[in-house]
C-alpha cells in the first residue's frame, strides 16, 4: 500500500500528460501540471522553513560551536518573513488606496524592499561576482597542456579570450578582410570555432541528454526507478 499507491499515481499522471500531447481536448493539462507544481512547491516552503528552524534552534540550544551565527540566521529570517508577509511599510495601491492589503509587498518604500536593496542584492551579487576570481584560479591551475585533449580545450579558450579584447583583432588586422584568408582573422576564427565546433559538440550533448531524459522518465513512469520514494532497489 505504501509503495503501490504512489507508483499508481506516478504512472497515471504521467500517462495522462503524455496522452494530452495528442488529444486536443486535454491540451490544457500540461499547463495545469506546471502551475500545480509551483503551488505544491510553495506549500513545501513550510517543510523547508521547519528544517531551517530545527537545525538552527538545535545549534542554539546545544550551544554548538558558532551558535551565535544561528542566532543571526534565525533573526534575519524572522525579520524578513514578518516584514514581507505583513507588507510592513507598503504604500497604498494608488488605484485602490482604501484597501490596506492591495499595495505591493516589494514596492520602493517598504521595509522588505530595503532588505532586498541593501542586504539581499549586494550579498548575492557579490557572491556571483566571486566567480571572476575563481575563473582566474581555475585558468591557472586546470588549463595545463597535459595531453592533446587538454591542448584543444585551452587553445580554444585562448583564442576566444583573445578575440574578445581589442588586442586580439589588432593582432590579425593585417589579413585582408575580403581575401581567401579572411577566415584566419581572429574575430572570424573565434566566430568559426563557436559556429562550427561548438555547435557540433553542443548538438551531440543535447541529443544525448534528450535520450537520457526520455529513458530516465520512462523508467520513473514504469516504476523501475523509484529512489525518490525511498525504494532504491
Amino acid at each position: 500500500m505504501k509503495r503501490t499507491v504512489p507508483l499508481i499515481i506516478t504512472a497515471t499522471v504521467g500517462l495522462l500528460l503524455i496522452v494530452a500531447n495528442f488529444v486536443p481536448a486535454l491540451s490544457e493539462l500540461s499547463e495545469d501540471g506546471t502551475t500545480f507544481f509551483s503551488i505544491i512547491a510553495a506549500i513545501a516552503f513550510v517543510l523547508g522553513g521547519g528544517s531551517l528552524l530545527k537545525v538552527h534552534l538545535k545549534k542554539l540550544s546545544d550551544r554548538d560551536r558558532g551558535w551565535a551565527y544561528s542566532l543571526i540566521v534565525l533573526g534575519s529570517f524572522f525579520v524578513t518573513l514578518v516584514v514581507g508577509l505583513f507588507k510592513i511599510g507598503a504604500p497604498p495601491n494608488p488605484a485602490y488606496p482604501d484597501k490596506p492589503w492591495a499595495g505591493g509587498y516589494n514596492e520602493p518604500g517598504t521595509f522588505f524592499n530595503w532588505i532586498y536593496e541593501y542586504l539581499f542584492y549586494p550579498l548575492t551579487a557579490t557572491m556571483f561576482a566571486m566567480l571572476a576570481f575563481y575563473i582566474a584560479s581555475a585558468a591557472f591551475r586546470a588549463f595545463r597542456a597535459k595531453n592533446f585533449e587538454a591542448i584543444l580545450l585551452l587553445g580554444t579558450a585562448f583564442i576566444i579570450l583573445l578575440g574578445q579584447t581589442a588586442a586580439g583583432p589588432a593582432l590579425t588586422n593585417w589579413i585582408p578582410p575580403d581575401g581567401p584568408f579572411a577566415g584566419l582573422r581572429l574575430e572570424e576564427l573565434s566566430a568559426y570555432v563557436m559556429d562550427v565546433f561548438n555547435t557540433a559538440g553542443s548538438r551531440a550533448i543535447v541529443i544525448g541528454i534528450a535520450l537520457g531524459i526520455a529513458s530516465t522518465s520512462l523508467k520513473i513512469l514504469m516504476g523501475l526507478d523509484r529512489s525518490y520514494l525511498g525504494g532504491g532497489n
Partner: protein
C-alpha cells in the same frame, strides 16, 4: 597572536582608517539624500469609461452611468468630478535626489538626509567586503554575512512564494471573491476553479510529514510531482531538443554561396561546405563517444576520440565566452564600492567638486 593575524589586523586597521579619513575629506562619502513626495488621492465618480455600458433606461432619463475610482487630487478628473467632502487619502514617500542637486540648492527644504538609505549603502558596502573576505580565508566576518544571506534569502523566497503563487494561483483560484476584496482589487474572473483543489490536497498530504501519523502520505505528493515532471520533460526534450537538433543538422554538405551577380563564390562555397562537413562529423563522433554498450576500442575508440576532441573544443569555447560576463559582474561590484559608497569615482558626474581627485587637483 600569530604573525599572520597581526598582519591582517594591521591591513584592516589601515583600511578602516582610510575609509574614516575619506569620510572626513571634502564632501565625505556614501550619503543619500531624498525628497519627500506626498501623494493625495481623492475618490470620485467618473462616467463609465466604456460607452457600451450605458444603460438605455438611465440614459433616456439623462442619467450618467458612473463608476467609483480614486484619482490624484491635482488631476483633471479630480477637478472635474470631485464632489464636496469626497474621501481623500494621502501618504508620503521619498524619492532619491542626486548629490549634484543637493549641492546646487543647499537651502531646499524639501531635500533631507536619508538615514535609512545611507545606513543601507554602508551596510551593503560592508557586506560586499565581508563576502570578498572569504577569498583570503574563512573568517567570522564572512560567517556573519553568510548567516545573514541564508536567513534573509530563505525568508525572501518564502514571501515571494506566498504573495506571488499562493495568493494569486491557489487562493485566488479557489476563493477569488475573497482575494478580490482584500488583495487584488479589480480581479474580473470571480468563479472558483475547483480543479485547483488538486494541488491544495497534495500540498496538505505533503505536510503530513510533520504530523505524528500518516507520514507516508507525503509520498503521494512526491509521486504526483515526479510523474508530472517525467511526462512533461520526456515529451518536451524529445520534441524541443532531440528533433529540432537533428532537423538543424540535415543540410547538404555542398553549400553553394552565390555572389550578388548570381555566380558561384568559390572560396565561400568551399568554406561553407567544409563547415557543414565538420558539423556532421562532429555530431556523429560525439554521439559515438556517448555510446554505452561498446568499449572505446578499435575503430569505435578512434571515432570516440574525435568526439572527445569536439567536446573539448566546445568546452574551451564555452569557457572563453562565459568569462566576459563574469568579469563585468565583478566590475559592477567595484563600481558600487567606488561610486555609491566611497565617492572616489564619479562616472555620472553627480558630484563634480565632491570627488576626491578633483579636490586634490584643485
Amino acid at each position: 597572536m600569530s604573525r599572520q593575524a597581526i598582519g591582517v589586523t594591521v591591513v584592516l586597521s589601515i583600511l578602516a582608517a582610510l575609509i574614516v579619513a575619506r569620510s572626513l575629506i571634502g564632501d565625505g562619502s556614501g550619503r543619500v539624500y531624498t525628497r519627500t513626495v506626498t501623494t493625495e488621492m481623492v475618490e470620485v465618480r467618473l462616467p463609465a469609461s466604456d460607452p457600451a455600458a450605458v444603460d438605455e433606461e438611465q440614459a433616456r432619463q439623462g442619467q450618467v452611468v458612473t463608476e467609483e475610482a480614486w484619482v490624484p487630487v491635482d488631476s483633471e478628473e479630480a477637478k472635474k468630478y470631485a464632489s464636496e467632502g469626497a474621501a481623500t487619502i494621502s501618504w508620503t514617500s521619498r524619492k532619491n535626489v542626486p548629490y549634484s542637486q543637493v549641492r546646487a540648492s543647499p537651502d531646499d527644504e524639501g531635500i533631507s538626509f536619508s538615514w535609512s538609505q545611507t545606513l543601507g549603502i554602508w551596510l551593503a558596502a560592508l557586506l560586499t567586503l565581508a563576502i570578498f573576505s572569504f577569498l583570503y580565508k574563512d573568517n567570522p566576518i564572512y560567517k556573519t554575512a553568510e548567516s545573514l544571506v541564508v536567513g534573509v534569502s530563505a525568508a525572501y523566497w518564502m514571501v515571494v512564494g506566498f504573495w506571488d503563487i499562493i495568493i494569486p494561483n491557489l487562493i485566488g483560484r479557489l476563493a477569488p471573491a475573497f482575494v478580490e476584496a482584500n488583495f487584488t482589487p479589480g480581479l474580473t474572473d470571480l468563479e472558483p476553479q475547483w480543479r485547483y483543489l488538486i494541488p491544495a490536497i497534495f500540498g496538505v498530504l505533503l505536510l503530513m510529514r510533520l504530523a505524528p501519523k500518516g507520514q507516508w502520505l507525503s509520498l503521494w505528493t512526491l509521486a504526483f510531482i515526479v510523474g508530472t515532471t517525467a511526462a512533461l520533460r520526456m515529451v518536451a526534450y524529445i520534441e524541443g531538443d532531440f528533433i529540432t537538433q537533428i532537423n538543424a543538422t540535415i543540410e547538404p554538405l555542398y553549400q553553394v554561396v552565390r555572389n550578388a551577380d548570381g555566380t558561384t563564390d568559390g572560396y565561400a562555397t568551399l568554406w561553407a561546405s567544409i563547415r557543414q562537413l565538420i558539423l556532421v562529423v562532429g555530431v556523429l563522433s560525439c554521439l559515438t563517444y556517448f555510446f554505452f554498450s561498446l568499449e572505446h576500442k578499435g575503430a569505435v575508440g578512434k571515432v570516440a576520440r574525435v568526439g572527445i576532441w569536439f567536446l573539448m573544443i566546445t568546452f574551451g569555447a564555452a569557457f572563453g565566452m562565459t568569462v566576459m560576463g563574469r568579469i563585468t559582474l565583478l566590475a559592477a561590484r567595484f563600481e558600487f564600492l567606488f561610486d555609491d559608497w566611497l565617492w572616489i569615482i564619479d562616472p555620472n558626474k553627480q558630484r563634480e567638486v565632491a570627488s576626491v581627485i578633483s579636490m586634490i587637483t584643485g
